[in-house]
Symmetry: C2
Subunit: 241 residues, 2 copies
């Protein structure tokens, strides 16, 4: 059995906060737990915030805002965008510096703690995950895996699901190629994005409207180690770019 355990009682996270200490104060972590943390609180702890009042919109941002959104928000999104993948102004599908393909370069502004702040993705979400994993082990002794999760839209499907943008302490893809099914047949197409499935599972327990940013997945058979970069399809393999 696998359990999805929301971590209740976390305070509002602020720049400079020690996330591991905040989590350890309210949750009893066990070896082999997968700690799934919403990107937004990781970004806040790391100070990845931009005050809208400090932003000056360029002519390009003003044009793309199309009179529908705040051009300063578009300015920040463009600054976080390595490549515009699709554009239906004011909506931008971005490739970020991490190679992630997502709406608005992952820039968000709900839950920012103040009215006029935007939250950016972490500079290096794998490093964020690894740092949190190491701090948890140091502070509690528990050997956990960590996933930094964000809500992404998907081509062809309605609604968002949470995916893993940072990973530490588990292999994000389970490779079943060469293993056998119950008929003894060798499985062929069996790269399973378990880190994305873990992020999605955690979101079910998150109750987004009440702001539970950390969920523990307990009982999942963790294997290996790796990087969320393994979940990013190389551009030359993509049929949709």
């Amino acid at each position: 059995m696998i359990s999805l355990l929301p971590v209740a009682g976390l305070p509002e996270v602020r720049p400079g906060d020690d996330l591991a200490a905040l989590i350890a104060a309210v949750a009893r972590l066990e070896d082999r737990d997968v700690v799934v943390v919403a990107q937004k609180v990781v970004s806040k702890a790391e100070g990845r915030l931009v005050r809208l009042a400090d932003v000056v919109a360029s002519p390009r941002a003003i044009e793309l805002a199309a009179g529908e959104v705040d051009p300063r928000e578009i300015e920040v999104i463009l600054a976080e965008t390595e490549r515009v993948v699709r554009l239906r102004a004011p909506f931008i599908v971005s490739e970020t510096r991490h190679g992630l393909i997502c709406g608005s370069a992952g820039v968000d502004h709900s839950n920012s703690g103040e009215d006029d702040m935007l939250v950016l993705l972490p500079e290096d979400p794998d490093a964020s995950a690894r740092k949190l994993r190491d701090a948890v082990r140091e502070q509690t002794g528990a050997d956990v895996a960590v996933i930094v999760a964000d809500s992404f839209g998907r081509p062809f499907r309605m609604g968002t699901t949470d995916v893993a943008i940072g990973v530490a302490g588990l292999a994000p893809i389970r490779d079943l190629r060469g293993t056998h099914d119950r008929d003894g047949r060798v499985l062929r197409s069996t790269l399973i994005a378990v880190a994305d499935e873990l992020a999605a599972a955690a979101d079910l327990a998150r109750r987004k409207e009440s702001g539970v940013p950390v969920v523990i997945v307990r009982g999942f058979p963790i294997e290996g180690d790796g990087s969320a970069q393994e979940l990013v399809m190389p551009r030359e393999r993509s049929l949709f770019d």
Copy 2:
């Protein structure tokens, strides 16, 4: 807390089998359980099987097989394809009659129970889910939701995750628009594809290599009702078609 409970002890499913009876014989279902069933066993119970020996490959199928795969398999995939969305022969991304965008039109041939059989998607996976839901209620009294799940690849991301292709007894999308976050701000972009997240969560407990096709998700706050068609993005909204 949400629990993901694999249902062990199911026999190999064959055409004409009563899936509800098979599940009820080995699992104690409770009201508000979400029963996530792998598409493959639903298809087998419904006899959605094609014997490869009965298929004659067309010249088009032979061409697309590119000498790499069995052209008769391509023939069956083409017959299940309403529209070819992308093509990198012999790999076909199909739109199925259900509007699903997926590799090989969802045609699969591992776990088919016999060497030379292909498994097609159910004719109407929502109807399959509803029939199973009704049969479970009739046979056990339990008022469950049902999801028919399949493993889909995703544009831009490596590996598959399970998604919901059939739904009964729950709203597949949770619409948080108009609700408030913990800062009191109205949430804007908050259509959450909970049925896909439930399918993905269940896959974590499935242990595909040992063939557990049914997983119970217990403790998820089910709301509403609906169809997996709500998860299919209308083509005119797609930026990637």
